[in-house]
């Protein structure tokens, strides 16, 4: 429930607001709905990662245009080690890190704020 709520409201918020609307949504929902700090962190992180990687994959495979390889190559530059990593994997790793960390800690923050004031 918590998981779906963050995904749905996070997606709606992200369509109109800046990128950090997603962690903000996680924070608010966890403040209202999360039962434990552990749940707040991990469910938020999972929801954030699902939303971002999911939508990234949809855009990457929509078949319209490929920018993933070109951006991937910009980030790997001349690094021989990274050059063997598929661009999509590289980009999804960054997406997972950014979305997971920010939404996870924002969810936890929501739960903590609730506990602070209750």
């Amino acid at each position: 429930m918590l998981y779906l709520l963050i995904i749905i409201l996070g997606a709606v918020g992200s369509l109109v607001g800046p990128w950090w609307v997603l962690p903000l949504v996680a924070c608010l929902i966890c403040a209202l709905k999360a039962k434990t700090t552990r749940q707040a962190f991990w469910v938020s992180a999972a929801a954030g990662v699902t939303l971002w990687t999911g939508y990234s994959l949809i855009l990457a495979f929509s078949g319209k245009e490929n920018l993933v390889d070109k951006i991937g190559a910009l980030f790997t530059g001349d690094n021989a080690l990274l050059a063997h990593v598929p661009s999509l994997a590289l980009i999804l790793t960054i997406v997972t890190l950014v979305a997971g960390l920010t939404t996870g800690f924002a969810g936890l923050a929501g739960r903590h704020l609730r506990m602070m004031f209750s």
């Binding site: 990128w19 855009l59 245009e65 920018l67 980030f75 800690f105 923050a109 903590h112």
Partner: protein, 815 residues
């Protein structure tokens, strides 16, 4: 206690968001950039983002835009304001980042978006004074009601597009580099044109040739750096009468400043031999239809996004097709129902340097005309991406800016001597280059063409013209300074008023020819005229090979069609090889060793075509450059800021003066190198170098296109994945098909004029879209490399059905 226990996680969350929201060095903000809702992935969703009907404030009446399948917009507007508004809007939609980038370059503001690495580059561009001149041009344009109206309508269109953007919709380069577009203004359009002035007129050899003069004296200069080549086929055919009384040009008694004992120490880059162009028109007497055919291929630095943007612009009084410069209203090279025109660079000497005598190190006064005159001092401010601000002092004399005050190793500009003021045509602010192109867009005949050219200033161009009234013409056009013979060949004396430019050649006296008896006009950056022309334009132009080859092929042309001219644009014949190889090969054969035999055999059997897969072309081109170094680098070393004699003089030496003293290497005191030694040694060195860099000689390793390595890079060269490398094409710098590693035909066009409706063909090495993920980003490159042309769809009316149709867009006024 509870407070602290629960506060750490909100702080961590805020810190993370803050961290991912700002750029990390050259890495874009990770949060914004990788959010699929906002970042680069959103840029893959925008291809067809123009719906069939849109509403824009700023449009007065509905505008119809028909996109053909090459993503070329055909704009049909009910009035000119709407036409140029729409042009600005559409070009911005496809090329906004690029057009703004050019203006940041010419105004010396790149540090603001890329940071400190661009400082010396910016500083140089500021010191050239381009932005200051551009501002003055804008003030002049305001007085020209018609041009100003078009400039402001265009800017309004660009700004309408910018106003629709948010981070999500920004071109991806903005997202990567982490900045946002500014408002567009007419000044930015002029800055864009300034870029062309610098690219085409912004080089100088004065400084290096002065060093040669100081070292070797005038006799050697006259021998090795003559004012006219031994073999030439000038743009205006010899024998064309000069029907005017020339202006008097006063020659001073002393034409040189006191030469310095020490060599001037600033290194000056050579003008880029790849920046040139071809154009020609054949008269009806040579064509199958009995009407003229015109061709043009301007050679510029190849880049992605491309320098050109194809479009058709139609409104009452104008219906024109061709290529526009992103950021500039109108069509620069193109055709309409009645006429076609094209341009190549003139390359006359329009940048000179004056040795300045300052009163003291404050540089507030300088000596000129027997008195101390005040300089103008400007403080230039540079804002860096990180907020840091730096200042630079710029000193102006009446000649122009002192480009560098002292010699500094890291000065970016290699063109400008220290302590010398620059007199440069790019600072000329009267006239209106834009009006010339806008008038050509509307021209119906030869008289319109001549009128259009009258207001043009710089960069001087060879304007080729053809009309369905069966006229062809070419005019060497622009503000050409009135100079005494050899004025500005060397550094000039900034204290002597007689050394100032004396004015400009009157427009009517600029070299021009209409319907010459030979049945064609042409240019390839070679000498504008033969020495009978009463004015001095410069001592060195592009080598004659391209021009001679074109003229040779056009001379033999009969019953031609567009494809005949397309084939000449792709001509790969190596005229330089034809000229010098017959003298060189016997030397190789006389001294050959077994390991040289296969390569000598290839050269002997070579058909002298620089085709993509030719190995002989690779050997010849590498060797010709090596041979030149072996002959000249001991006497005129590049590191001492000297200049090699011209390609023509080198060929003359190699073919007719084998006993010449220049073959001896002056750095070897105890031996006298001979002609044979230099020819053989340079040949062996070339083979060694090729083997070292490309492996053993075979068809694969030494294929010409691999060694030439024509690459089309993104404007930010670090964005390698937005670039295309090692294009498989033939050509070379002295070849009609002038593709080099970084330059080449940036637009190829052939137009068959017709009484009813012209037929035209063209393409450029890139694509209409500036978005690297678009299929229209580089879709024309492969056809370009193969030398093909696309039929250009020139619509008669907005309702005409076209076969290669993509979509229609109606732009309605928004109330």
């Amino acid at each position: 206690m509870k407070f602290i226990k629960f506060l750490w996680s909100p702080l961590v969350a805020i810190a993370l968001i803050y961290f991912f929201n700002k750029p990390l060095g050259s890495v874009p903000p990770l949060g914004k950039f990788f959010s699929p809702f906002h970042g680069f992935l959103q840029n893959t969703t925008q291809e067809e983002d123009l719906s069939e009907e849109i509403f824009l404030k700023g449009v007065n009446e509905p505008v119809k835009v028909v996109y053909d399948s090459n993503y070329v917009p055909h704009v049909f507007a009910a009035n000119e304001d709407d036409l140029y508004f729409t042009q600005g809007y559409l070009v911005a939609k496809d090329r906004l980042w690029q057009m703004e980038f050019y203006t940041l370059v010419s105004s010396g503001r790149l540090t603001e978006v890329v940071g400190e690495t661009a400082f010396e580059f910016d500083r140089y561009n500021r010191r050239l004074g381009m932005a200051r001149a551009a501002e003055e041009i804008v003030e002049n344009q305001k007085k020209d009601e018609k041009a100003w109206r078009i400039l402001t309508a265009y800017a309004a269109g660009v700004n309408t597009y910018i106003s629709q953007l948010n981070y999500k919709k920004l071109p991806v380069e903005y997202k990567i580099l982490g900045y946002e577009p500014e408002e567009w203004t007419p000044l930015k359009t002029i800055l864009m044109l300034m870029n062309m002035r610098q690219t085409l007129n912004g080089q100088s050899d004065d400084f290096r040739l002065t060093n040669v003069l100081a070292q070797y004296g005038m006799e050697t200069v006259n021998d090795l750096f003559p004012d006219y080549p031994s073999v030439e086929s000038p743009i205006i055919p010899s024998g064309t009468p000069w029907n005017f009384t020339p202006e008097k040009v006063k020659v001073p008694e002393v034409t040189l400043p006191p030469l310095q004992k020490e060599l001037l120490s600033q290194y000056i880059t050579r003008p880029d031999p790849g920046i040139g162009s071809n154009n020609w028109a054949i008269s009806g007497s040579k064509s199958a239809t009995g009407l003229p055919i015109l061709a043009n291929d301007p050679h510029l630095g190849l880049s992605l996004p491309s320098i050109w943007y194809q479009m058709q612009l139609s409104a009452p009084g104008v219906n024109v097709y061709g290529v526009a410069l992103p950021g500039c209203p109108g069509i620069v090279i193109g055709f309409n129902k009645d006429v076609a025109w094209g341009v190549t660079n003139v390359g006359s000497d329009v940048m000179d340097f004056y040795q300045i005598r300052f009163k003291d190190s404050s540089k507030k006064e300088y000596w000129h005309d027997n008195q101390w005159k005040p300089t103008k001092i400007y403080i230039e401010e540079f804002r860096f991406k990180n907020g840091k601000v730096m200042q630079d002092t710029l000193v102006y004399t009446h000649h122009g800016p002192v480009v560098y005050n002292e010699d500094k190793k890291d000065n970016y500009g290699k063109n400008a001597p220290a302590g010398h003021a620059m007199k440069w045509i790019a600072h000329y602010t009267a006239g209106s280059d834009l009006s010339t192109f806008l008038a050509l867009n509307r021209a119906h005949n030869y008289d319109d063409y001549r009128k259009a050219l009258a207001v043009y200033s710089a960069p001087a161009q060879n304007f080729v013209f053809a009309s369905n009234g069966n006229d062809i013409a070419i005019t060497v056009n622009g503000k050409l300074p009135l100079k005494w013979k050899d004025q500005g060949k060397f550094i000039l004396d900034g204290t002597n008023p007689e050394h100032d430019w004396q004015g400009y050649i009157p427009y009517e006296q600029n070299p021009t020819v209409k319907n010459p008896p030979r049945g064609f006009v042409s240019s390839a950056n070679q000498f504008s005229t033969d020495p009978t022309y009463p004015y001095y334009l410069g001592w060195r132009f592009a080598p004659a090979y391209r021009g001679r080859r074109i003229n040779d092929r056009l001379t033999h042309l009969t019953n031609a069609n567009a494809d005949s001219l397309r084939s000449i644009q792709n001509d790969n014949y190596n005229l330089m090889a034809e000229r010098i190889l017959p003298s060189l090969i016997p030397v190789l054969e006389k001294h050959s060793t077994p390991d040289m035999l296969p390569s000598i055999k290839l050269l002997k059997e070579w058909n002298r075509q620089n085709t993509a897969t030719s190995v002989a072309a690779t050997i010849f081109e590498t060797w010709a450059a090596e041979l030149t170094r072996w002959i000249w680098d001991d006497e005129f070393p590049a590191e001492k800021n000297m200049l090699y004699p011209s390609n023509d003089r080198t060929a003359q030496l190699v073919t007719t003066e084998p006993a010449g003293r220049w073959f001896d290497n002056i750095n070897t005191a105890d031996t006298v190198e001979t002609y044979d030694y230099i020819v053989l040694g340079s040949f062996k060195a070339s083979l060694d170098s090729l083997t070292r860099h490309h492996g053993t000689m075979n068809k694969e390793n030494w294929a010409w296109y691999k060694v030439k390595n024509t690459s089309i890079n993104h404007l930010v060269p670090a964005f390698k994945s937005f670039s295309r490398a090692t294009i498989k094409n033939g050509g070379g710098s002295q070849i009609v098909n002038a593709s080099t590693s970084r330059t080449g035909p940036s637009w190829r066009m052939v137009v068959e004029l017709d009484k009813e409706w012209p037929r035209a063909y063209g393409l450029y090495p890139g694509g209409q879209s500036g978005r690297p993920s678009s299929k229209y980003y580089d879709n024309m490159i492969d056809d370009w490399a193969e030398g093909k042309l696309n039929p250009l769809i020139f619509m008669k009316t907005k309702d005409e059905k076209i076969s290669k149709h993509l979509k229609n867009v109606i732009i309605n006024p928004k109330k």
